[in-house]
């Protein structure tokens, strides 16, 4: 049939139908890997493939869906054996038709929700693809994915280990999202950016439930679309799954989808050759619709797409250590909680995209950049802008990024473009182009426009369309180059008119060296927006700037009926995270700590600092209150949630005291440093987090390594920070084993550091057995142990 790439989109292509369902009817035992039939019952597989070919299928999917090393862990056969045989059988049945190497999910969930590393998932897929590629399949079908991140690992593995066409389909729930929360348009933008050849959906739902999802995909897709539904919505009856759509109904719905633009079909669970036959029959004589290319500019996380569409998207600039001492220190200490809080706060204040920068000499930029991205994308749906001048850092970052990011940035200097554009193309990232080049800063509007044109041309030569380029016309300082302000503004306007590209601008540089900077910043921002700026980069904590943006959205008619404006200014959102309701009376700090009033404690501490020494506040007010909370807890007067809330309140108070002392040049004295970690394989870390906050309350500095921490990382941290106490937690009997290994490794190395352990399955005896020095039954006990250890030293 020739090369499939020449056919897709021009002719309908029909995949086969279900394999697993048919194998169970032919003797596959529940719980066994269907792929072992490739070796043990090849005739059955051949038979099924042939029946699909006879039914009119153009593409046979090999019986290799679950043939990965994780799922085959306990199998008698290797990944290679099973895939080779699977392809052999497929080729035998398909003859001159196509065969697709079928790749399904690993069966494990990726970090941070699961424990599978992204790069490990990549390796798992790579092994499958290498076999498939060497055996000469016609395409790779990556299907039934619910995790966009896992999909990305598979696509990269396919692209880096073969030149085969890639078809990628994900599986959606009836809420029109995948299990991991990806929506159809985000899937489209990310998969297209990664360079797949066709995309779509399969499994989970029947053809009727496919329609709304398919419609959304067709609205945004620029490449051929695939639909492989189940034979109806699965119905669960008496412990069996039943599919109840007939081949006739099924094929009718497929025609319906064909009429709207889908050009590649097939069947998933519950289908059989009769379904494929009916579809094949109905598609006879029909021609696929053309898929028109779309030119949206989008930035995506795994679960959220931001359209750069004129409605003003704010890029939060706070995660940049340049000139920010506390962030810089947090990065040096790899304190990711600090970074997360910065990210969460910016999003809450209205940032649509976050700029991430790790460029300080003291740290390993690539390492910290990767770490920050993994942490932020693990909990937030805000897309990221990777800000670095180092191509190596950029490549590492966009590789592990889950979505479609922005790279910040290239200039008009050919060398920077040549190093960055290939990366942007490969990983499907947007790129910011700064209108400066090897000759330096532009001196007027015309130069900016010229450099912009050059950037767009070079980008095009790398296959990067202009909707993926965002131009920064550069703000120069008004106190030095007063006439430049309007050159920048005019350039924004001209570039948009001439080339229709989106623009971004950091405005605060305008006011450098002048009084009342905020006024200039805000005025320049409003001017730039009027001239067509799409994406201001700013500090979302600057309320006045954010006010201007909200107002601009109303006056530029993008905030329709001023809905968002009204809802924002009518009722400022209240913090609802307090366990107790704030009252208007002024309370003393003891009551505030008792009641866990995190909102009030900052003011109250600041007030005390006006009259008292920091250490007096701690010793005479905070610690006694904290002790009393602890006693109340032990008596059963209050409970764990209240204890934690009080501890968090104390932590807030300490933050105020700490920054006060720092501003006076005093350093807060810690009682000692402690490393905490939830051991390898375990991800239950709530207990550890409670221990952490209580230790901090009592004046210890905690190096929190997080969860699922390998022994080596723990040992490195103990040595690096020279701590005398390490706390390990594990919840499961299966992970206490790793705790024991870690303890052994620490002791074998002869490190002078004591070990305390805690976790649900542990008790004093068990702790002794695994050679721990201390067993902490709860967080208060851990504090007592810490005080004992550091008193000794």
């Amino acid at each position: 049939m020739g090369n499939i790439i020449d056919i897709i989109g021009r002719k309908f292509l029909l995949f086969d139908g279900a394999m697993g369902t048919m194998l169970q009817q032919r003797g596959l035992k529940p719980g066994d890997n269907p792929e072992i039939f490739n070796i043990e019952k090849p005739d059955i597989i051949l038979d099924i493939h042939k029946s699909y070919i006879d039914a009119g299928a153009d593409i046979i999917t090999t019986n290799t869906f679950g043939a990965n090393e994780l799922k085959l862990k306990d199998s008698r056969y290797s990944v290679e054996e099973i895939i080779k045989r699977g392809i052999d059988i497929g080729r035998k049945a398909a003859k001159d038709k196509f065969i697709a190497l079928d790749i399904g999910p690993t069966g494990q969930i990726l970090k941070p929700i699961g424990t599978l590393e992204f790069e490990k998932a990549y390796e798992v897929f790579k092994r499958q693809i290498i076999v498939g590629n060497s055996m000469g399949v016609d395409l790779i079908l990556i299907e039934t994915m619910s995790d966009l991140y896992e999909m990305k690992a598979a696509i990269l593995a396919a692209k880096e280990n073969s030149n085969l066409p890639i078809f990628a389909t994900m599986t959606f729930q009836d809420n029109k999202r995948t299990l991991m929360g990806t929506d159809p348009k985000t899937m489209v933008f990310v998969l297209e950016a990664l360079g797949v050849d066709a995309l779509g959906i399969n499994c989970s739902l029947g053809p009727n439930e496919f329609h709304p999802i398919i419609d959304e995909i067709l609205k945004y897709a620029s490449i051929p679309v695939i639909a492989r539904p189940n034979a109806g919505l699965p119905i669960y009856k008496d412990g069996n799954t039943i599919y109840n759509i007939t081949p006739e109904e099924f094929s009718k719905e497929i025609v319906n989808m064909a009429n709207r633009g889908v050009s590649i079909f097939g069947g998933c669970c519950g289908t059989n050759p009769n379904y494929i036959k009916a579809v094949s029959h109905k598609l006879q004589g029909m021609k696929p619709l053309n898929i028109l290319p779309k030119d949206y500019t989008t930035v995506c996380s795994a679960t959220n797409t931001i359209f750069i569409d004129g409605s003003i998207q704010v890029v939060g600039e706070r995660i940049n250590p340049t000139g920010k001492e506390s962030l810089k220190n947090a990065l040096i200490n790899e304190d990711m909680n600090y970074v997360l809080r910065e990210a969460i706060e910016q999003q809450k204040l209205g940032a649509d995209i976050l700029d991430i920068n790790a460029g300080v000499p003291e740290i390993d930029e690539s390492l910290i950049m990767e770490k920050m991205i993994k942490e932020i994308q693990g909990i937030l749906d805000v897309p990221l802008q990777i800000d670095s001048s180092n191509p190596e850092t950029i490549e590492k970052a966009v590789r592990i990024y889950n979505g479609k990011p922005i790279i910040n940035s290239v200039t008009g200097d050919r060398a920077t473009m040549e190093s960055i554009f290939p990366i942007a193309k490969k990983y499907g990232a947007n790129v910011i182009g700064l209108t400066m080049d090897e000759k330096g800063l532009p001196s007027n509007c015309e130069e900016r426009v010229k450099i912009c044109k050059k950037i767009l041309d070079v980008a095009e030569s790398y296959g990067i369309e202009k909707n993926n380029i965002i131009i920064d016309c550069l703000t120069l300082t008004a106190s030095v180059n007063q006439s430049q302000a309007f050159e920048t503004l005019n350039a924004i306007k001209q570039i948009k008119e001439l080339y229709g590209v989106k623009t971004l601008l950091g405005v605060s540089n305008i006011s450098f060296g002048l009084p009342n900077r905020k006024l200039l910043n805000r005025t320049f921002l409003t001017m730039a927006l009027t001239y067509g700026l799409d994406m201001p980069i700013l500090d979302p904590k600057d309320e006045e700037m954010m006010d201007s943006i909200r107002a601009f959205r109303v006056l530029s008619n993008s905030d329709k009926k001023a809905k968002k404006y009204i809802s924002f200014y009518k009722s400022q959102p209240k913090e609802k995270s307090e366990l107790t309701l704030d009252s208007l009376d002024e309370k003393d700090i003891k009551t505030i700590i008792f009641d866990g009033l995190k909102g009030e404690v900052v003011k109250s501490t600041e007030k005390l600092l006006e009259t008292l020494e920091p250490l007096d506040i701690i010793d005479c007010h905070i610690i006694p209150a904290l002790d009393e909370v602890g006693e109340k807890y032990e008596r059963g007067d209050i409970f764990l949630p209240q204890l934690i809330q009080s501890a968090e309140t104390v932590k807030k108070s300490f933050e105020v005291i700490k920054s006060h002392m720092k501003s006076k040049g005093e350093e807060k004295i810690y009682k000692g440093k402690i490393v905490l970690a939830t051991v390898k394989g375990d991800i239950h870390d709530i207990g550890k987090n409670i221990v952490k906050i209580l230790l901090e309350n009592y004046g210890f500095e905690v190096i929190d390594l997080g969860k699922d921490v390998p022994t080596e990382t723990i040992i490195d941290a103990i040595l690096k920070h020279d701590v005398k106490l390490v706390g390990l937690s594990a919840l499961m009997t299966t992970t206490v084993v790793n705790m024991e290994k870690t303890i052994k490794a620490i002791k074998d190395k002869g490190i002078d550091c004591e070990i305390m352990v805690g976790g649900a399955v542990l008790n004093k005896n068990y702790a002794n057995m695994i050679n721990a020095d201390y067993y902490a039954k709860d967080a208060r006990e851990a504090v007592k142990i810490a005080e004992k250890v550091y008193l000794k030293k």
Binding site: G31, T115, N337, R341, I379, T580, G636, F639, E648, M732
Partner: protein, 215 residues
């Protein structure tokens, strides 16, 4: 979907009788937030069982259940039901979201998730009970999960394969931790008499140390 406030309090280690209005309001808020992200899914399957050399064979499969405790649990049973329940990964993500800046909330949401997954298990158990009653004229035992007694956790991957856990996104790590975290697998026996159907805390071997015991 429904989450019982008193159950959440119990998982938080709070005596419901002593929970004040503010704590209850806070828990209610947490319940609402979890209900927004939870997407409960379940699978179950009924299998005949046979005792072979002290082990219980799930007929039609290659899976054996080992240990004395499951043997005792399934004593006199003809059949058993395997069930798997999960609330989905977005619950985990929500609990994780609060960890860096509002530990109290994260802690309370975690308890809300536990209360919900147990509630869904109760519902699935009812379905199984209904099938046992109607179709087989049998009664059912309580739920028994890997890790209880001497039923090893290592059976988890096999149970999930039988249940086709993949279909509801229910997975298990090498360390036998189920992901999403708010997930349960359990075994229920089908038998004629009802005597042994007793799920009160008094019958549990852990009754003395358990901080979650009812009543």
């Amino acid at each position: 979907m429904y989450i019982d406030e008193n159950e959440v309090l119990r998982y938080l280690g709070v005596n419901p009788k002593l929970a004040n209005f503010k704590l209850r309001a806070y828990v209610k808020d947490g319940i609402e937030e979890i209900l927004k992200v939870a997407y409960p899914k379940y699978m179950y399957t009924l299998l005949d069982i046979d005792t072979i050399e002290e082990k219980i064979l799930l007929k039609g499969t290659n899976v054996y259940l080992e240990g004395n405790s499951i043997k005792k649990h399934l004593k006199d049973c003809f059949k058993c039901a395997l069930m798997g329940v999960t609330l989905g990964p977005l619950v985990d993500r929500k609990i994780e979201y609060y960890k860096s800046w509002d530990l109290t909330r994260s802690f309370v949401l975690d308890a809300c998730g536990t209360a919900l997954v147990e509630r869904v298990c109760d519902e699935v158990q009812h379905k199984i009970q209904y099938i046992a009653n109607e179709k087989y004229k049998l009664n059912i035992t309580s739920r028994y999960s890997p890790g209880y007694g001497d039923l090893p956790l290592s059976i988890q991957p096999k149970l999930l394969k039988l249940l086709e856990g993949d279909r509801i996104g229910l997975t298990v790590t090498e360390q036998m931790i189920m992901i999403p975290r708010k997930s349960v697998t359990a075994i229920i026996g089908l038998k004629e008499d009802l005597e042994s159907f007793n799920i009160s805390c008094e019958n549990c071997s852990q009754v003395d140390e358990c901080i979650y015991k009812k009543g």
